[in-house]
Symmetry: C2
Subunit: 184 residues, 2 copies
C-alpha cells in the first residue's frame, strides 16, 4: 500500500483472529521495519520477543495480561517489545528509550498493516508475571505488546472498516500551533 494510505488505515482492531499461520517472511519484514527506525544517538534500545504458536501465546497471555486483554490469547503470534532504559539517552528527565521504542513500534504496526495483518498495541500487562514467564532481566522494561494475526473472514481492509469509521481523534486545530504555543 502507499505510505499515507497505510498510515490512515492502521487501526487497533478487535481480537477476531483467523487461525491462519502468519508467514515467517512477513514477521521478518515487520521486525526489519522496526529495526530501521531512528533513535537518539542511534542507540536502538528496542528488543522484541516473538512468541509463536497458540499454546505459547495462550500461556503468556493467561499468566501476564490483564483481564480485558485476555482476548488476544488466540493470536498465532504475540510480539512483546522491551527496552533497557540504560541503553538510551535521558535529557532533563525525559527517558528517550520510550520515545525511541515508539518510533520503532509505529514502523512495526505500519508494516503489519501493509501486509494485511491485525495489530493492537497493549500496555496493560502485569510486568512482574511477564518477566517470569519470558525470563526478562530485571533491568529491562516491558513497553508494549501486540498480537499479529490475519483477521477472521476477510481482508484487513474489510476487518478495519467499522473501526476506522468510528475513529475519534482531536482535530488538527486542537494539536497544531503556528510559530508559538497557543497560536492557531
Amino acid at each position: 500500500m502507499e505510505t499515507l494510505e497505510t498510515i490512515s488505515k492502521r487501526a487497533s482492531l478487535k481480537p477476531n483472529f483467523s487461525e491462519r499461520e502468519v508467514e515467517k517472511v512477513k514477521i521478518t519484514k515487520i521486525l526489519e521495519a522496526a529495526r530501521l527506525a531512528p533513535s537518539a544517538r542511534n542507540s536502538q534500545p528496542w528488543r522484541f520477543i516473538v512468541v509463536s504458536g497458540k499454546k505459547k501465546v495462550e500461556n503468556v497471555v493467561t499468566k501476564a495480561f490483564f483481564g480485558f486483554n485476555q482476548a488476544v490469547k488466540d493470536a498465532p503470534v504475540l510480539i512483546i517489545v522491551c527496552a533497557n532504559p540504560k541503553d538510551d539517552d535521558i535529557h532533563e528527565g525525559r527517558e528517550y528509550y520510550l520515545f525511541d521504542v515508539g518510533l520503532a513500534v509505529e514502523n512495526m504496526l505500519l508494516a503489519a498493516t501493509d501486509l494485511g495483518l491485525v495489530t493492537h498495541p497493549m500496555t496493560a500487562v502485569n510486568e512482574v508475571e511477564l518477566r517470569k514467564v519470558l525470563h526478562i532481566p530485571e533491568e529491562v522494561r516491558f513497553v508494549v505488546a501486540t498480537p499479529l494475526a490475519y483477521p477472521k473472514g476477510g481482508s484487513y481492509e474489510e476487518a478495519a472498516q467499522e473501526r476506522l469509521s468510528q475513529r475519534t481523534r482531536k482535530g488538527l486545530n486542537e494539536i497544531v500551533y503556528s510559530d508559538v504555543w497557543g497560536k492557531p
Copy 2:
C-alpha cells in the same frame, strides 16, 4: 511510495536544504499522519508547533538549539513536538507520553519522506530557552524537533543515497528473541 520502501528510505539527513518553500498542503498531510497514530487510551498527548519562514526558524534555532544543531537554522520549516505528561498514562514508572509521541513522530517522518522532504529528529535543545521563545507552558515538555525542507540540488532519493549506504543498525539477531528473552 510503498510503505516498506518509505520505511527503508527514511533517514536523518544532513541539513543541506533547498530554499524552495514547503507547500502548506504537504505540511498538513504530515501533521495529519501524526494525528492518526495510536496512543495509550487514545490520549493523543502530542502537540506540534510549526515554525515557518527562515527568519522565525533562525530565531528559534539560534536561541534554543545546541551548537551542533545550529545547522538547521536555514530550514524553511521547523516542527517542534511537545506533550503534557499529565495527558497520558503512567504504568509502573513508564511515562507513555514519550512512547505515544514516538508513534506519532514516526508517522510524521514517514509522511515527509514519502513527500520528498528531508527530516532530522533532534532532541538536544535548551528546553528553558525554547520555552521562552515559543511560549511553551511550564507543564508541557519538549520532546523532539525536526526541520522540514526539500534537499538542495536533487530529489530526496538522491540526497539520501549516501546516508543510507552508511547506515548502521544492529542485526535482527541482536534485537529479536524467540519465545523467551535471550533465545535466538
